[in-house]
């Protein structure tokens, strides 16, 4: 079981709370890409809001954190730490504190 923390606007869009729990395929490595696949599978309304529909590129002002480390620029196929894979620590999705208008 993977725990994912969503930013407030995406909670509104997905009509869910701060933290969601996802079950990933137990045989596949737990990677950012796999977490996002599972998240979008459970909440289709989030498709296109975190990463591009086609290219799967992360949107510029969205960031991913695990174990207090920014992994936004890591490959989406990089295996995540065991504490994430086991659900002891959450996978954070954040909206950057930048850009936009008041």
């Amino acid at each position: 079981m993977i725990r994912v923390i969503l930013p407030p606007h995406l909670r509104t869009l997905a009509r869910t709370g701060k933290e969601v729990e996802l079950d990933l395929d137990s045989d596949a490595p737990v990677t950012p890409g796999a977490v996002l696949d599972a998240l979008e599978g459970m909440y289709p309304t989030l498709r296109g809001t975190i990463r591009d529909h086609q290219t799967k590129q992360r949107r510029p002002m969205v960031r991913f954190f695990v174990c207090e480390r920014d992994i936004s620029h890591d490959s989406p196929d990089t295996p995540l730490p065991d504490v994430i894979a086991s659900g002891r620590e959450p996978f954070w999705i954040l909206g950057a504190i930048s850009g936009g208008q008041a």
Partner: protein, 371 residues
């Protein structure tokens, strides 16, 4: 009993304002989608309970919503806007080629006859169509791939397709307008397009007969005269009586012919409304007076409508999709400001009163007449 429903998109959510045919007492619902930028909401003429909404965010991109119960509840629909075929390039601000990139939906135009069909005008400029109530979107790529497309440039607000007019007399005829490419017409349901910009004069274009490159801000039509269009251009208020084949200026005695929205009265095809703005560098009303100007002669002769509008120290703007009309017997006119006011007139603009004063900056106002 008849009444109106005013759909207001703001920088921080959507609001729905409803009233009966007297349009004096209002019920305010919202914010819907609180905190999100709501570019545009528009109801289906064929089914007033069907409303489409465009929600955009600099962080999380474009999302789309649909209501089937007049805005009481909403469901998220498709947000995948993929350009068809070769993407190609348009001109960037500095004149260099720049690939088309989808950014947001500026305008939604539901079909006049089918509640499940809706058009979306997007940035970077292209026209999309959904025939399944917004679940999936297909580009009508003949517009973007027009032979002039590689010469289109963005206006200050981006390269947006912001105006879509469906001809009620000819289901194959569609007009669109793009900043800063100009106006285009299709006579085959959106498959192929012709620039319709003859007669437009733009100071910043050295070639005064340029086929494209004009910064059209908004166009409007009265349904009984589909060959007559009115245009608020960056500067100049224009008119055509031959479906855009030739335009002529009707700015007349306006205090400024810069502005954004333009609308036509519901029952008087020669009565037109604009909101003059001081200039392209000062986006507020001249002299701090918020005045709607009305022409009852199809342009050229304009009168200021001021009764109930602030006539001193007012420095708000009215954006291109932030004005609308109803079609009750006594035509209602509505507009929203970047200061968060939505004003209504139930008597064709003679008198005005605010429905709400303190919303977030208003981006769009659309009215549904309920019977």
């Amino acid at each position: 009993m008849s009444g109106v429903r005013v759909l207001v998109g703001t920088r921080k959510g959507a609001f729905i304002l409803t009233s009966d045919e007297r349009r004096k007492d209002w019920e305010v619902s919202g914010p819907h989608f609180g905190g999100w930028e709501m570019f545009h909401l528009k109801g289906s003429p064929a089914d007033p309970n069907r409303i489409y909404a465009s929600q955009a965010s600099d962080w999380f991109g474009q999302t789309m919503h649909r209501s089937d119960d007049g805005g009481q509840t909403w469901q998220t629909v498709g947000n995948e806007f993929g350009y068809q075929g070769e993407i190609g390039t348009h001109q960037w601000y500095d004149g260099t080629p720049h690939p088309w990139e989808f950014k947001r939906v500026w305008h939604l135009e539901p079909s006049l006859t089918d509640p499940d069909t809706v058009y979306a005008g997007v940035e970077d400029a292209a026209l999309f169509k959904s025939t399944d109530a917004g679940l999936t979107w297909t580009e009508l790529s003949g517009l973007r791939t027009h032979s002039t497309g590689n010469r289109w440039q963005p206006g200050a607000g981006g390269m947006c397709l912001h105006s879509i007019i469906l001809d009620p007399a000819n289901p194959d005829r569609i007009y669109v307008a793009i900043s800063a490419a100009g106006a285009f017409r299709s006579d085959d349901g959106g498959a192929t397009w012709t620039p319709v910009n003859k007669g437009l004069r733009s100071e910043y274009i050295p070639d005064q007969d340029a086929e494209v490159g004009h910064c059209v801000h908004n166009i409007a039509m009265h349904p009984s005269r589909p060959e007559t269009l009115f245009m608020q251009k960056h500067w100049d208020v224009m008119r055509t009586d031959n479906a855009g084949d030739l335009w002529h200026e009707v700015s007349g005695n306006l205090p400024s012919d810069f502005g954004f929205p333009i609308e036509v009265h519901a029952h008087e095809p020669e009565t037109v409304y604009v909101v003059p703005i001081k200039s392209d560098s000062e986006h507020f009303p001249p002299d701090g007076k918020l005045r709607v100007y009305r022409s009852r002669t199809g342009g050229n002769e304009w009168e200021a409508l001021t009764n109930g509008l602030p006539q001193s120290d007012c420095y708000v703007n009215v954006l291109r999709d932030a004005m609308s009309i109803d079609s009750l017997d006594s035509c209602g006119v509505y507009f929203g400001t970047t200061g968060g006011q939505v004003y209504a007139s139930a008597d064709s603009g003679d008198t005005w009163a605010p429905i709400v004063r303190d919303l977030p900056a208003v981006m769009s106002v659309e009215v549904q007449t309920l019977r």
